[in-house]
Amino acid sequence: MNMATNTAETIGDNHQTVGTPFVDNAKLSMRNVNVFYGEKQAIFDVGMDIGTNEVMAMIGPSGCGKSTFLRCLNRMNDTIEGCRVEGDLNLEGEDIYGAKLDVVPLRARVGIVFQKPNPFPKSIYDNIAYGPRIHGLVSKRTELDEIVETSLQKAGLWNEVKDRLDAPGTGLSGGQQQRLCIARTIAVSPEVILMDEPCSALDPIATAKIEELIAELSENYTIAIVTHSMQQAARVSNRTAYFHLGKLIEVNETEKVFTNPDHQLTEAYITGRFG
């Protein structure tokens, strides 16, 4: 049976996500999430958990909604006109889309790294210091210096830039810029880091460095990473979620997804029959 050709049949409106979408020690838990861009629906009834200090990879063909879903987790979709999110999204029991919730502290807790490195046109130091400064995390310059140093060290950039902290962040190479952006995110000490295809604009060496970094960070942070490199998902994540046309098809241990997936669509995707 060629399932790839007739997806509408294989994932009907009342499909069930297969595998193990839910865990006990959930940091983020999402139920019945629907996302609309104006009239168009982009995410259909997605439910899953992301466990504490877990690395969750989200994969799927282009336009499957994985990035949209990721951006729901710290309400980055608020900045897009006409975007509407329905369903229950919780961060340790707090409703992310609740009326009481304030996005400013939410985003301090759930940081995000974007596809294209976007350092501010400021010095390296000021890039890192930006978050702590706006949130008022430090009162003394020495404390700030310390945060900048530890963040850069955690991002593995310290040795490369420690002599030129006053140089503009935009002058770094692509991979360095992306690690700068990660360091900038870490500087606020978030609990969760969202990464939206963080390596897609980078060369293989820079990619390898970022992947190492993710592995190190996973000890202290909960990480959700969207990628379209299946190898990357396999290398960095504990669990993997497969999205298809806005629906969550399967969530499983990464090893299981890449060796023996439960759903035919997942299998079709990882074996390269479409993508």
């Binding site: 501010f120 046109p121 978050g131 706006i134």
Partner: protein, 463 residues
Amino acid sequence: MNLTTLLLTLVALSAAIFYTSRRRSLSKAKALGGQHHLNSLPLYYGMMACLWCALPAISVLVIWSIFDGVIIERIIVQSLPNSSELTSSELGLLINSIQNYAANPGSLTEVSDPAIIQAAERLVDLNRVNAMARALLVLIFGVIFGAIAWTRVSPELRARQFVEKVFQSLLLLSSFVAVLVTVGIVFSVLFESLRFFSVIPVTDFVFGTHWSPQTAIHDGQVGGSGSFGAVPLFAGTLLISAIAMLVAVPTGLMSAIYLSEYADRRVRAIVKPMLEVLAGIPTVVYGFFAALTVAPTIRSFLEGVGFENVSSESALAAGGVMGIMIIPFVSSLSDDVINAVPNSLRDGSYGLGATKSETIKKVVIPAALPGIVGGILLAVSRAIGETMIVVMAAGLAANLTANPLESVTTVTVQIVTLLVGDQEFDSPKTLAAFALGLVLFLVTLTLNFIALHVVKKYREQYE
């Protein structure tokens, strides 16, 4: 033959040559067996001949028209009995009355001098001869060149290429007008300024603190050279521009920020054009508003709260109204540069948990700063060069003061004052206006140049 008839005749002639040449190309083609034997479409043969006819004729006409007035005037002057004894201004007056009499012999003004009447009659004669000679020469040129073109019509002639060459040259010529204008500006202000500086030393002009050109009217008066220290004018210009920028920059910038970052699309669609109406209002209207409404209001208000000696032509009124005029200018330039800041930077900031105003103040504005500065420089250059508001609402007294409640004067006000009305072109008073014009041109040119360069570099950065 007057100019209109001549031009109409020339048009008719060109049309005739167009038509006959087109016919000729067709008939030649027919002899060969059809239109496809022609190098170009018949239309182009007609156009080619037409251009050959019209262009030389028009060139002759233009050259003739530039020189005929001067030549005729010289002939008339030489025929006057005592022309060599007159000064140039007296001569000008004399020529004027001759021309008036010639144009209107039965006019009410009584001309008694027989020399003038004689000269005027001669002038009428010369004008008639001149018009006839001009018409004759122009039409002969047209006919000869048109005829040459007509005889050259042949299937091998590359008529289309010729027409396109002429077309392209005309386009090039048009774009060259911009350069000519710049050259014209530079030379016209530079020459007169040099004449001015040959009388008044440059240092006196640039560093002098006393401005009273009026004394220079009386020719030959002892010490009647007036004083031309332009510092009070520069100071006044700066004071008024500074007030204008104090009004325009915060308001314009904040309006642009609010409209592009906060306001929703419908509000923006209504408010933005409404603010831009402010930019479309003629400056003379602002001048009227400043002089008749704002200045008295400010004056009575300030006197009401205890200030004394508030001038009715205060720098505050002129500068404030000028600021209002510049608001939309600042806001639309800032709007452009703010929109050029890539959204990824905003996302980066929001992603770290920054509020909207923090993102704007600490990411968007710093990123857009070069562009904003460029826009502000353009606005400053505009404020410095603005004329009507200050002419109507600021004063003439060249006070050297930093008090916005006093009356000051500006460079543009003085240019207008010195040049409006009858002037003699040799007096330092008139030439001073050109020296001020030179300063104004150089300053605004520098500002514009820097601003455009900065903005261009900024644009390229985010493209």
